[in-house]
Symmetry: C2
Subunit: 334 residues, 2 copies
Amino acid sequence: MVTIGDVARAAGVSRSTVSYALSGKRSISDETRQRIQEAITRLGFTPHAGAQALATAQTKVIGLMLRFHDDEFAPAMLQYVLPLSDTAREMGYDVLMVTDADGAEALRRITKSGKVDGLILLDVAHNDPRLEPLRAAGKPGVLVGLPQDTDGLDILDLDFAAAARMLVDHLQGLGHREIILVTPPLEVFKRGISYSWRFRDAAIERARELGLVLHAHYGESRQPAVGETLNAVLDEHTSATAMIVHNDGSVAALPMVLHERGVRVPEDLSVTSLYSQEFGRTFSLPYTAVETSPRELGRLAVRQLVDRIRDGDGPGPHRVRFLPPTLTDRGSTT
Amino acid sequence: MVTIGDVARAAGVSRSTVSYALSGKRSISDETRQRIQEAITRLGFTPHAGAQALATAQTKVIGLMLRFHDDEFAPAMLQYVLPLSDTAREMGYDVLMVTDADGAEALRRITKSGKVDGLILLDVAHNDPRLEPLRAAGKPGVLVGLPQDTDGLDILDLDFAAAARMLVDHLQGLGHREIILVTPPLEVFKRGISYSWRFRDAAIERARELGLVLHAHYGESRQPAVGETLNAVLDEHTSATAMIVHNDGSVAALPMVLHERGVRVPEDLSVTSLYSQEFGRTFSLPYTAVETSPRELGRLAVRQLVDRIRDGDGPGPHRVRFLPPTLTDRGSTT
DNA sequence: CGCACTGATCGAACCGGTTCGACGATCATC
DNA sequence: GATGATCGTCGAACCGGTTCGATCAGTGCG
């Protein structure tokens, strides 16, 4: 391995001079800088990350904490991971992906050992056990998903309540009076993933305000339960003219279910949902839907985190930020 | 931050004694060991990863290099990532996930800076640009996917040729004489992902041996091309009685396509494919298929890598290992 | 009883960077 | 021509671990 000492010797300067030439923290004459630069490329020097971390207490790595649950539709989470990783790299950070079953313990481990400069937590629950160790860690963290206690944390999430109102309003504007709402599975509510009730409760509330009938039912994430549940719900509410599907697994299975039942969209049933453009393309979903913007959310999360890391908790107060929903009309309502 | 020096002071011993107590590399009296242990838990000591990496030249991190291409079905790769991550953790390693567009450069960066102890490369191409820097890095690497030059590398992959023969044999045994084969998209062949032609060529070869007619066509990964292509192929070969689908995107879209055409499986068409149980469940695919075992592949890859890391290239010669395919009969052939 | 050996511990050096304080040279200022 | 900045560079200390060699007490053996 080639060290900074090798470079210094080759360039005929001291180690500290090489370091300063690299960091630019002190002025170095053009001539010396060039000799150093030449030596670096000739020898192929790259600073040792461990040594750097030791000296600077910075790792240039961010931790990404996620977990795949049986009650979730796995491909959906992937949409967040890639933009996060790409954005991190753009900003000079690598990503340590942590999928431990015990998230709290894993978080403690990687923060206390100084493996990461900051953390991004996905799929945050109402009473998330990772928050206590996160607060104790003294490292910046950005959450995607809304917990109960937001004190001292940066949070990013879609405004699910506004999204629900937007969809109900949209359907009401088209004259629908009876709507089926498929929510996330019961287990997701139980796990405390707040978007599930934020969306549902806002939808129910808005329907009430507008005098609409809204039937809320839990969806499922896995086959064959998904299809069975969708069929049962459709059987139960034959007079409903519109549907809001707030569940990735259900919406992915919906085209097949409707096709088998001979239900035409939008002639027989207006269908709306909530998914990203990317997700819709992958699963060829033809529904008018609120865009969930995972790409934007991921980018914003990393930016926010890196700002905090750089400014050491300086750039203003912690805050909860909800992205405003936007509707993509794919012609599945009438 | 609490250091090993703090622990030593609290326990009334030297720093080296604490280190030895922790590593067990020299004998320590029971009494001292307990005092140290008590001090560690009381103070909440965790070794600094950077310092450890510097002193031992080991990071306990493995790099996972992957890339999502437009011509691929993104959810499919996820199946490999999770088992990899879980297995790594079981064996005491964290995972640095690298998704850079320039994989070769990224590989150089993380190996030369000593950020990882070893690497796993997914989706390896025939002439993969990452192999040169990998060989130069002097760190162990395990590939999933078969490159042209396997010298000095450990490789794991499904035996796609055997899988192809298995499916052709299966259909021939049922009396089919004319078979449609949907291969991965042309772009995948062009990128040099060898499983595409390993499977196709073996299927063609076997069909020839058995005197069967086999129509090979490129599939697509994205909507709406997937559906259009499948329909075109089915239109072209109306006398074919069986189908082999070797393409994630196509097989995920197939149920809908067949349903829309009114084709019953297996009465009108016998359908076989190649996907994992997990994948099949997520997309509710009902086809008899070769199991791709991403979970097992992931586990084996990490195990192999960790063995190499531990034994410093000692545990026997490098080798290419093909997992034998197994057929899961889901009743979609007759 | 003296000697070799083992077990438990310590101190110092080392891993490869960064950073602080000091120092000589150069240059403008009065 | 002395004074004080400023610039460019160096040496030493430091970050927090690990490991080598040495020391010392206790033990077994001839």
